[in-house]
């Protein structure tokens, strides 16, 4: 059974991601310190809490460096919502703490993404269908993604990512007049702005794709 480590950055609620991992027949383990990642081939950075609290906590426990190392060593890492944002260099939520820097780009409040109409709603909350850019090369990953490419996913966020390299964008959400990145993939780094563990059966498929 594949082991999937879930990063503990002090924000609670690993329960739901644990449950989802079990539901796809994998074994979840909590990674609270660097050594917990020894021998781990799949890591999830969950999506709960605030950017600065997460960064501070990870730096304290050594997980910050460990994650960068894992990224460089081709370990598969999935970042969910806040987790995706943590991959980037800068954070804007709650202060100027720098993120992991595994990906280049910005994180911005959604208000910055376009001139929303008067009746805009932020945070983005709810179920949305998203447009997927499926790569021509068929892999296990893309096969599974294809199966749920027309399904709704659950979003709950006030910030969005703007990767420097647009080629890593895997999926976008059309929200009012803005195009918000819904998923990215760069080699071993996978990230979703939505919550696969909260997106019903379709979301579980996304997790399956991650460990495939």
């Amino acid at each position: 059974m594949k082991k999937v480590a879930v990063i503990d950055y002090g924000a609670g609620n690993q329960k739901n991601i644990f449950r989802a991992i079990k539901a796809i027949n994998c074994q979840p383990v909590l990674a609270s310190k660097k050594s917990d990642l020894d021998g781990i081939r799949y890591i999830i950075v969950p999506g709960m809490g605030s950017f600065s609290v997460a960064v501070r906590h990870m730096k304290k426990t050594g997980l910050f460096e460990a994650l960068i190392e894992a990224a460089n060593n081709n370990i598969k890492i999935l970042g969910i919502c806040l987790g995706l944002q943590l991959f980037f260099e800068h954070g804007d939520e709650g202060g100027k703490n720098n993120g992991l820097g595994i990906l280049k780009g910005k994180i911005l409040p959604l208000e910055n993404f376009c001139d929303f109409a008067d009746d805009y709603k932020i945070p983005v909350m709810g179920w949305y269908k998203i447009g997927w850019i499926i790569p021509k090369e068929e892999t296990e990953f893309s096969k599974i993604i294809n199966k749920v490419s027309d399904k709704h996913m659950y979003f709950a966020h006030s910030f969005g990512v703007q990767p420097e390299n647009k080629n890593i964008e895997l999926s976008t959400l059309d929200y009012y007049d803005a195009k918000i990145v819904a998923a990215i993939k760069k080699d071993n780094i996978f990230g979703t702005q939505f919550h696969p563990e909260k997106s019903g059966e379709a979301g579980l498929k996304i997790l399956e794709a991650f460990v495939s």
């Binding site: 924000a11 609670g12 609620n13 329960k15 739901n16 449950r19 989802a20 539901a23 709960m48 809490g49 605030s50 609290v53 806040l82 939520e93 709650g94 109409a117 009746d119 805009y120 709603k121 932020i122 945070p123 909350m125 709810g126 179920w127 949305y128 709704h152 659950y154 709950a156 966020h157 006030s158 959400l173 059309d174 929200y175 009012y176 007049d177 919550h195 563990e197 909260k198 997106s199 019903g200 059966e201 979301g203 579980l204």
Partner: protein
């Protein structure tokens, strides 16, 4: 522009492990088993689940932890919990038990700083401002606390502005006058939702899928809370969604 889907959110009020339902927040009849009902709603297409501890304000404590732990083992959709949440510790406890969002009413009114604190620690998207609004006269609504027992004298508009300014990610508003009455949504109240830019879940009075149509013609709501209609088995979520899709209302 992508039109949001309207989330269909069953609201379950729980007391001593039982699913209960009152009218205008008064009188509380036992109508079923919350666990069984929640699973059924999840399987039937619920977009989220809202659990409210109906006696929490009496004991100043939320008792849904154990229930949450069990239910989040079975459902993979967002779960919001409310009732008697008074502090950061209370919120942490419930998040650890599986809640995705916490909804507060009385505690926020007593201490608006708590809104900022929770938003800062957990992100706005995890913090829901729960409002129970009562009509005072033709144009005025006020908010009530402690499961409808205490009037506050606070104007609805003013309060919604405060919630938004302090960082809630969502507002779950229940019309005290309509809830449990089956007379449809309070459309006059819905009109007031235009003052905020956070997502709004509107609850109270649903008795027919047509009510959604009536509601969206007044206000572009992000979700609706339903209790009586589902708990008394007057209809199903799948029926609501079928009707909605046939009538150009976006639902998942």
């Amino acid at each position: 522009m992508s039109k949001s889907n309207i989330r269909i959110i069953p609201r379950l009020d729980i007391k001593s492990g039982k699913l209960i339902k009152g009218i205008k927040l008064e009188g509380l009849r036992v109508v079923g088993d919350p666990f069984e009902s929640a699973i059924r709603y999840y399987n039937d297409g619920a977009d989220e689940l809202f659990f409210h501890d109906a006696v929490a304000s009496l004991y100043d404590q939320n008792h849904l932890g154990d229930f949450l732990e069990l239910i989040t083992d079975e459902v993979f959709i967002p779960v919001t919990v409310g009732g008697g949440i008074r502090s950061v510790e209370d919120a942490v406890y419930l998040f650890n038990k599986g809640a995705d969002k916490v909804a507060l009413n009385t505690a926020f009114v007593r201490n608006p700083k708590l809104i900022e604190k929770l938003a800062e620690l957990f992100g706005s998207q995890s913090v829901v401002g729960s409002i129970e609004a009562k009509c005072i006269n033709d144009d005025r609504w006020e908010i009530v606390t402690e499961s409808g027992r205490e009037n506050t004298g606070i104007e609805l508009n003013e309060w919604m502005g405060i919630l938004q300014a302090k960082g809630v990610g969502e507002i779950f508003i229940t019309s005290v006058d309509n809830e449990g009455t089956k007379k449809g949504f309070d459309l006059k109240l819905a009109n007031y939702m235009k003052v905020v830019n956070v997502p709004v879940i509107f609850c109270g009075g649903f008795n027919n899928p047509k009510n959604i149509h009536e509601l969206v013609s007044v206000y572009n709501v992000q979700g609706i809370g339903i209790a009586d209609y589902l708990h008394y088995k007057r209809g199903k979520i799948s029926d609501i969604k079928t009707w909605s899709k046939q009538n150009t209302i976006n639902v998942r």
